[in-house]
């Protein structure tokens, strides 16, 4: 039960990046992604600088490189898609390793790969250095509507509840002699899955009511101060600012 724990997304640490207020980091990442997307794809140098910038952040935040790489598997479908484009793409053709590939297709593939990868790494760094709950509080400070933030908070909580209920149900099944080995056992899982939704909901509902009965009125009480200083804004926004300058310089 409870919120904010057990999210392996977040790597606790005490770096400059970790300590930045979440709203600064969020805005920085968004701005950075926008600059990246807006950069014309033939500016190879600009993309190289963007990658170096992110590498700098990785070092500053002391996020282990293998962790970043592991999380990048989320990209795989798009990598596949990107490799597919030159094959089915239109326009002028060129021959690489005996394959006839579309030149605009190659450009498109490079475009998607480069921009998607930079975006993914930026997001991974944000999530790795900021607790999920805090990211949401930051989003709220950036004027994301309160109701959305609340829904997202509850979503995180319920993900825990669902995982928790799933774990409880698995232990209960196993301790009564059940081991899911093959397809014949799918119906059992499916039957208990129906109960899972309602169980999770009702557990969450009771917790919500418990919160209400302790004076919750839709706003998490702010127990820790979250305001950002000008310096912190400056530190965070350095990333998109340098990126923007790079874009301008490689014009």
């Amino acid at each position: 039960m409870g919120a904010g724990h057990r999210h392996q997304l977040y790597l606790p640490g005490d770096s400059v990046v970790h300590r930045l207020p979440p709203q600064c980091k969020l805005l920085a990442v968004f701005a950075f992604a926008l600059v990246v997307v807006a950069t014309p794809r033939e500016r190879f140098w600009a993309f190289a600088v963007y990658a170096l910038l992110l590498a700098g952040v990785v070092m500053m935040a002391r996020v282990p490189l293998p962790y970043v790489l592991r999380r990048m598997v989320i990209e795989v479908p798009f990598v596949l898609f990107a490799f597919f484009i030159p094959v089915i793409g239109l326009g002028e053709r060129t021959t690489v390793l005996g394959l006839s590939l579309s030149v605009p297709g190659l450009w498109a593939a490079w475009n998607i790969l480069a921009k998607a990868t930079l975006g993914v790494v930026a997001s991974i760094l944000l999530a790795a250095t900021t607790e999920p709950r805090t990211i949401l509080l930051g989003a709220q400070r950036l004027r994301l509507p309160g109701l959305l933030v609340q829904i997202a908070m509850f979503m995180l909580r319920y993900m825990d509840v669902i995982l928790d209920e799933m774990r409880r149900m698995r232990v209960a099944r196993e301790s009564r002699g059940f081991v899911a080995r093959d397809l014949r056992h799918v119906p059992v899982i499916a039957r208990s899955a129906g109960a899972l939704f309602i169980r999770s909901y009702e557990r969450g509902e009771r917790v919500h009511l418990a919160m209400l009965s302790r004076g919750y009125d839709g706003q998490m009480p702010i127990i820790h101060d979250m305001s950002a200083s000008v310096r912190q804004w400056g530190t965070a926004l350095a990333l998109p600012a340098v990126a923007l300058a790079t874009w301008g310089l490689t014009w």
Partner: protein, 249 residues
């Protein structure tokens, strides 16, 4: 039992059915005066938890009315009602939701506006009382069941409510904690309604008892008298435990 105004809790003809159609309460009437400590007894499935959930507006009466210190429980009074009535749930997992024990206990007072050193003091005091101060920085879901129950009590104590409603607070507590809880409750100057299956505990702590059975109040009187009436008890699946005798006054 005085006029309506001075009563801490006043329930009239309360009926309630759960969304799946199970009706749990069939017209409950009760009133509890300010400062009383009352035990709510009854068999499993009698509707005790359901009744208790109405007292701070967690469930909304299907029929009838509930009022707290003269204020009817309604949508627009809920906030005030919940400041006044502190409810300890039967299942501590329903009660604890923050990442650490300290945050969980701080949640209520922080909502009421406490901050800083004052907040810390209140939180540590409440944890101290239930003997869980050492676990303040652990996540509640990593505690033993009895430890979680104690923290659940602390979350409510920290809010200093006028009316304390406890749903089987002594279950899963070790014997010393059970006695300490009794001492805490006795030391507070609040109205207490306590659901329990532990009849000796009810006798020890509450002058008056109610028996809820089949969704209606079946008996209401001094605990000592009710517990002495073994026929009444048997009718409602209650009985004194082995080895227990009602002590002479």
């Amino acid at each position: 039992m005085g006029t309506d105004v001075v009563n801490s809790l006043e329930v009239r003809q309360l009926a309630y059915a759960y969304p799946d159609g199970t009706q749990a309460l069939f017209g409950v009437d009760l009133s509890i005066a300010r400062g009383e400590r009352v035990a709510l007894l009854g068999p499993n499935g009698a509707g005790k938890t359901t009744l208790v959930m109405h007292l701070n507006g967690i469930l909304t009466a299907g029929h009838g009315s509930v009022s707290v210190a003269g204020t009817p429980v309604r949508k627009d009074t809920l906030k005030e009602i919940r400041q006044r009535v502190g409810l300890v749930f039967q299942d501590p997992d329903d009660q604890l939701f923050m990442p650490t024990v300290r945050d969980d206990v701080a949640f209520g007072p922080a909502n009421a506006g406490l901050r800083g050193a004052e907040l810390d003091r209140v939180v540590e005091d409440a944890l101290e009382r239930v003997g869980m101060l050492a676990a303040a920085d652990r996540p509640p879901h990593h505690l033993s069941f009895g430890q979680r129950r104690r923290v659940a009590v602390a979350t409510v104590l920290a809010m200093a409510p006028e009316i304390l409603v406890l749903d089987e607070p002594s279950s899963n507590l070790d014997p010393a904690a059970r006695r300490e809880l009794a001492e805490i409750l006795r030391s507070l100057d609040v109205t207490v309604l306590m659901v329990t299956h532990d009849l000796p505990y009810a006798l020890e702590l509450c002058e008056r008892s109610l028996i809820l059975s089949g969704g209606v109040i079946a008996a209401d009187g001094p605990t000592r008298e009710l517990l002495a009436d073994s026929e009444l008890l048997a009718e409602h699946r209650l009985e004194l435990p082995y080895g227990f005798a009602i002590p002479a006054v």
